[in-house]
Amino acid sequence: MAEPVKLIGTFGSPFVHRAEVALRLKGVPYELILEDLTNKSELLLRHNPIHKSVPVLLHGDRPAICESLLIVEYIDEAFDGPPLLPIDPYDRAMARFWAQFIEQKCAKPFWMALWLNDGDKREVFVKEAKENMALLESRLHGKRFFAGDTVGYLDFAACGLALVLGVLAEVTGLSLVGEDEFPLLRRWADDYTSEETVKACLPPREQLVAHFSGKKDRIKLAVNAMACQM
């Protein structure tokens, strides 16, 4: 009998989403345990003592697996089902390279571009965010998703971008892209969020908008405080 799978996550996190969509695409039944990250549970701190973050995957009674992209690779390898990463080693290397690019180079400029008060500082990050988007746009030529015709590893790795372009643009009133800019990326964001399996584990858009609107002031405070030290 299959061992139970639990995913410790939090509402609205693109990192948690990566793990969740991977489980769904692979057809793995799981229980989602939602954390309040301002009041972390003993369960989370016990299973991820080093990073203390979500997502965390619990498979049976094995010690936890942490870090969203590592969890995705684990799900791909430990369970039967459609492959989440490409099969060819070179294609796998490209997927990992671009996922790393998104993690290391994209997250910060996008986040700062959305939430900074200082217009001049924000402009610098908007410019950087747009340069990154141009690179990602070029990866979508002739393809519906980064992986091809169906969603895969790099699409989930980039899911935060879909959040930025959609929900967060609405919450902040700031669109990082003009109406005629990056058409492939904008189409990708729509296609990704409406894909059947992805949609099944995404909260309704209104809920996400409400969630981030509620946190808006707190996020702005934290981001601008951080920016003062820079």
């Binding site: 697996i65 590592l70 690779e73 684990y74 080693p89 390279f97 790393q100």
Partner: protein, 231 residues
């Protein structure tokens, strides 16, 4: 017939070492193409336009960038001893988790402890030592020669900057990272890593690294000082 393999790398680059050691461990013949990072070649800039740095692996006409992406590629594209365990759980928890730790949590404080000075350095040294303690605990509990098993593998390559630099740490920074009787499992791991035949055979070896860093020491210290002034 096997497609030619070239590794574009630089002396003094611990990232190049990761890729080179992976090729050697896997038994893949390759040509090392030396890059002068102060005068980057057109080849490098064409093959790695995004980051403009080494290492870059060329397998036939395929270019792969980013040292840890290269290590995983080498493991998957070529036959030879596996660099990651075969069990999916061990791959995720020991190999990939500790490689991620070495790259994303351990690396910055280690290098900053090496090149920074004064009060700021104390903070980095403390953080580096906390990370060493976590690694020590893992090695002791896991009870293997290396981070994910009894042979050099992916997480060891990710953390290879530690065994490569540790001897020189005090000489270069003027401060010690660990006392002689501290972190015995880490010390053993460092020794095992440096004694591995494939690692020793790498062209980018410790002597060259030591010479390189002695020359570059002041430049790196200045760069870090300028960077920290902004924070």
């Amino acid at each position: 017939m096997a497609e030619p393999v070239k590794l574009i790398g630089a002396v003094g680059s611990p990232f190049t070492h990761r890729a080179e050691a992976a090729l050697r461990l896997k038994g893949v013949p390759y040509e090392l193409v030396h890059e002068d990072l102060d005068n980057k070649s057109e080849l490098l800039l064409r093959l790695n336009p995004l980051n403009k740095t080494v290492p870059v692996l060329l397998h036939g006409d395929r270019a792969i960038c980013e040292s840890l992406v290269i290590v995983q590629y080498v493991d998957e594209a070529f036959d030879g001893p596996p660099l990651l365990p075969t069990d999916p759980y061990d791959r995720a928890t020991t190999a990939r988790f500790w490689a991620h730790f070495m790259e994303h949590k351990c690396s910055m404080p280690f290098w900053m402890a090496l090149w920074s000075g004064g009060e700021r350095r104390k903070g980095f040294v403390e953080e580096a030592r906390e990370n060493l303690a976590l690694l020590e605990e893992h090695l002791q509990v896991h009870g293997k020669r290396f981070l994910a098993g009894d042979a050099v593998g992916y997480p060891d390559l990710a953390g290879s900057y530690i065994p490569l630099m540790l001897d020189m740490f005090e000489e270069l920074s003027g401060t010690s990272l660990m006392g002689d009787d501290e972190y015995p499992a880490m010390r053993r791991w460092v020794k095992e890593y440096n004694s591995d035949e494939a690692v020793k055979s790498c062209v980018t070896n410790k002597k060259q690294l030591a010479a390189y860093f002695r020359v570059k020491k002041d430049k790196y210290k200045m760069m870090v000082k300028a960077m920290l002034k902004q924070y």
